[in-house]
Symmetry: C2
Subunit: 217 residues, 2 copies
Amino acid sequence: MRASDRAYALLRDEILEWQLAPGTILGEVEQSTRLGISRTPLREALARLTADGLVETQAGRGLVVADASIDSVAELFEVRLPLEQEAAALAARRRNPHVFEQLRREMADATTLLADPRRHAYYELVRRFDEAMDDAVQNTYLVTALRGLRTHLARIRRLAHDNPARLSAAASEHLLIIDAIIAGDESLARSATAVHLHQSLRNILDTAQAPSTDRTA
Amino acid sequence: MRASDRAYALLRDEILEWQLAPGTILGEVEQSTRLGISRTPLREALARLTADGLVETQAGRGLVVADASIDSVAELFEVRLPLEQEAAALAARRRNPHVFEQLRREMADATTLLADPRRHAYYELVRRFDEAMDDAVQNTYLVTALRGLRTHLARIRRLAHDNPARLSAAASEHLLIIDAIIAGDESLARSATAVHLHQSLRNILDTAQAPSTDRTA
DNA sequence: TATCGCCATACTGTATACACATCCCTGAGT
DNA sequence: ACTCAGGGATGTGTATACAGTATGGCGATA
């Protein structure tokens, strides 16, 4: 693997996991030294992160980790809703039923996966669901747009907390979306997606650490 | 201006204007020599173009200009419709009326602008309309997604042809969208956007050079 | 004659050196 | 004491050199 790829993946992870806080200055010399590579591949990594919107050029200070707060989650969902709805509708139209029937079986068993306190298997299942959607949609522009949103969502999600009850409910919502896709019911796919995103947003806002003002622990 | 910026802007223009055909191999040495810069800034430009989706890595051949054909325009509009609709609705909700009232006056005069056979002023007006929308929407994620789509649309548009009749009709459609935004009518903004995109797509498909099969001149 | 293997070449990926701009700190003058 | 100018240091942008890898051609052998 290329050094620039490793640098990109590492910095991306660190930003998404808030190990690099918003506003952190990303000096080329400092970061390349830290990662044990030269400035050339590091610059390439920073360029990609900038294109992703995870890094911004702040006048005078050079590149900094892009700002992010719970306030932007509403903005994010404003775009996510129409895109995920369209994706679900297109998936319902073009899906391979077998793929989603398999996912349906696994999602119906989600309770089992949620027994694990780390919930690794559950998140992996959701990831495979997203992947199956991307594949079924057969629209590279849509998938590209959704990927960008998911990146930012992953970062902001870290400010909120999942609990087993919410994840169990989310699994049920996913199940309905999958049913709609299998049935080829575009209208239901849109509605079920709207429901899921609504509940997801509510959970994030309800469990979020307070924005701007310090939380009173 | 940085050399990498110039290289990016130039290559981007050449790709959008089909001076660099899809599949063209972009060798680093060849291109950096042609543009009179070293490989370092050229690589940065190519990285940005890759992020834009205008350049792809083709296994074995390195970087090539991304494929594009009239076939992908349907895909493009599948994403464009929900995004532009949401943008129009948000703009109707958050707009500054004065900005759009000014645009309305100019758009109502579009016939005058269309007298110029190069239609420079007309395209400039449409560009300012898009800009006003982006500003009114107040959602960076949505604007980013739309910008990406517009880039690809600009490239594919070159395969079709505008005529004065179509542009005049398009101006009327824009006018209705602007009216809806000024009135704060989100529903009408969505519908008027759907109408405009439908007609726009139809025009592109009707006037497009034949896809895949050679046109019989 | 066809296929396999080897060698030369070309190109990408990385490191490093250099040029230029900018910002901050210090010192002197008002 | 405050301000402005100069200089040093730090950092980005670009060029170039070097290393490693992959590819294409050519030759030899079956």
